[in-house]
């Protein structure tokens, strides 16, 4: 049987003390950890009312959009291959949509290769036609989403919402609310490579 000498006793005592000090420091360590996460979150200026999209880096959902101006024409994913697309959900009854509307003319002018799709969400056809007549039509294609099923597939819950799709068919950006020049310049433009 091994003899327990003084060195062993001192060693286990020191270990025990270390464990105790570690245990005592635990609350402090946890607090610092949690606070760092919170600080990072605060500094990122995330908006609690604007959750990141579930469709980020996912493929464009299957769409079959009837043309607002021509009932016979349908736009589907097949027509959109290899295109960089900006999809904007709007409606004639949506006030903030009216505010962001002029920006799209600007965007179309500066980025002619960007395919602009407007989706008229939960709207009446006549009202939409009147709206685009009065405010102008910057879109390359305006699709009808009368019942809101297209919006549902995109996870739309408030208008306006804008999505950027890259040439591989993946949704790489979503913006909630009326688009501004600043947001386009700082967040969307860099992605348009």
């Amino acid at each position: 049987m091994a003899r327990c000498n003084d060195n062993d006793i001192v060693w286990t005592y020191r270990n025990k003390k270390k464990m105790k000090k570690l245990l005592l420091s635990l609350p402090l360590i946890i607090i610092i950890l949690i606070s760092s996460f919170l600080l990072i979150y605060l500094l990122q200026k995330k908006d609690p009312n604007k959750p990141p999209s579930a469709l980020l880096n996912e493929n464009l959902p299957e769409i079959n959009l009837v043309n607002l101006f021509n009932e016979e024409e349908i736009l589907s994913n097949y027509n959109l291959k290899e295109k960089t697309i900006l999809i904007n959900f709007f409606a004639s009854w949506c006030a903030p949509c009216k505010v962001e509307h002029p920006l799209f003319f600007d965007i179309k002018k500066k980025h002619p290769n960007l395919y602009l799709i407007g989706i008229d969400h939960k709207d009446i056809k006549e009202d939409a036609l009147k709206y685009l007549n009065e405010e102008g039509n910057p879109y390359d294609y305006v699709g009808v989403d009368k019942k809101g099923s297209v919006g549902l597939d995109f996870g739309v819950f408030g208008l306006p919402e804008t999505f950027l799709v890259n040439s591989s068919g993946k949704i790489i950006y979503k913006y909630l609310g009326p688009l501004t020049k600043k947001v386009f310049k700082n967040e969307i433009k860099p992605l348009l490579k």
Binding site: L24, L38, L42, P51
Partner: protein, 623 residues
Amino acid sequence: MISLIGFGGLIFSLLCSIILIFIFFIQNKKYSETIFYYALYGSVISIIISFLALMFSYVSSDFSNYNVFQNSHSSKPLLYKITGTWGNHEGSMLLWLLIMTFYNLFFSFNKKLDDDLKKLTIFFQSSLYTCFVLFVLFTSNPFLSTSIEIKEGLGLNPILQDPALAIHPPMLYTGYVGFSLVLSLALAGLILNKIDIKWIKTTKNWTLFCWSMLTGGISLGSYWAYYELGWGGWWFWDPVENVSLMPWIAGLALVHTLMITQKEQLLKRWIVFLSILCFSLSVFGTFLVRSGILTSVHSFAADSSRGIFILILFLVITGFSFIIFIFKSTDSNKKLNLLFINKSSALIVNNIVMLVACITILLGTIYPIIIEVITNKRISVGAPYFNMTVLPILLPGFLLMSVAPALSWQSNRLPKFKNYLILFILMSILSSLITYFTHFNVWGFIGITLGLIVIGASTLSIFHNYAKYNFKQFFLRNNAFIAHIGVGIAILGVTCSSVFQTEHRRSLNIGESINIGKYSLRLEDTKILEKNNYQELLAYFSLYENDEILSKIKPSKRYYHVSKMITTEAGIYHHWLQDFYIVLGNQKDNKWDIKIYQNPLINFIWLGVMIMILSGLIGIRKK
């Protein structure tokens, strides 16, 4: 003008606190002590003046004060002008300061503690106070002026114009702001190495008071939510609710540990840890609520600069406290005598259960933030998560609670435990019968069994404890049992009102009835009334039991002119066995859509909580 007085009061209060902190370090002069206490009184008086100034601005509808302009309106009833003082972020922070300083003042009247411990506690409390005054001055000043001349205010959210919600903040703050004093006591005790029997007794009394007030504040909020928010729910695991619950749970663990180890002076390190934890959770909670970092039904207007300030405040206060804890806390000389099951081990189980529950709530509340920082995906952690984790975790605690106060320190034998055994079996059978004959549900069975066992065992313990003593002594000696009976009653209320709630939807014409078992409800009439600042559409119902009229119930809808909001007020008939709860929906053709809820035993919740609060306050008197 009045705002100037208010602002002056705030600044003067800050100055006094700083003087107090300075003079603390100049101990040896003759006048040090006088200046010390006069600085304290000065800061109290000036913050009272400041608070009254703000209240006066509200009452007189002085819209030159920006805060009053944003949150009030001249047509508001007087009561809500007064209570509107703290119905907004800045005003509520002023209330926070007021309460913090009152705790400092009332503590200064203590005559039992050693002088150096007392002064160091006041020193720490004033330091904490200074931090928060700076927070108010830099980010939440209630005395800013509107730059142009304004004739009318923006009005107050009509949901806040309610008596229960008016007293809810003061009571709530008296609770969790009060934990600041417990923290100050802990820090002072640690540094002077005076965690002795006098310290424990003083801390016990203050903690009991804070905890009881916090219980009251939280239940007022819940009771308000019950009659105001639409379907008879009273707890939603909303982040703001969770944030008030965490210090409550930590406070409960602390209260138990303090009361039980009072004479033995055990677990000193743990007690100090919990004392620091309570206020840390309060400050952390304040951060979560006021930084705008979480979505909640009742968050204040958010501002990220406020968030960063409070977060830094939290780090400084908590970091400092825990560093002192690491270096200065000492273990008690006595070791716990742990047996299966005696009072010591029951106390440990209580602490474990409470802490794990608290950690779970914390984890659930901040997890979405952590995940979003790491993965940029947002998740929600809501009621389903908390119900599936916190409730099962609390179960062993509830079970043990039934016999814990009757356990002894020395042996693991429960005196007269055969009686308890018989009681447990009887209650389980009773509970199975009840659930069999009404509507079987696993949680219903567990809840009713637990509730009955806790009430039964505690009552049994009181009988075992019987000796000849007078009324006052009865309550003091049996305080723990009575408190647990309160919890048992609340458990029954919580279980039955959630598990056995029934909902009925109907469209009724005037004159039509709906039959629910032996009850029937008839829609008699509808009327529109003009009140002070709203228009009310009332629906008059008559509730009959077996064709005899029980009561009239009046659900309504209110249209507030200024804010143009419509609120729905439930019509409730309160009864010990169940509440009838009617919500008025929309009118289609001539029919009214109504929802009727029967909430069995819901009033047991409020009764149980009141017993808990009374018991907490009585515990202060216990030697």
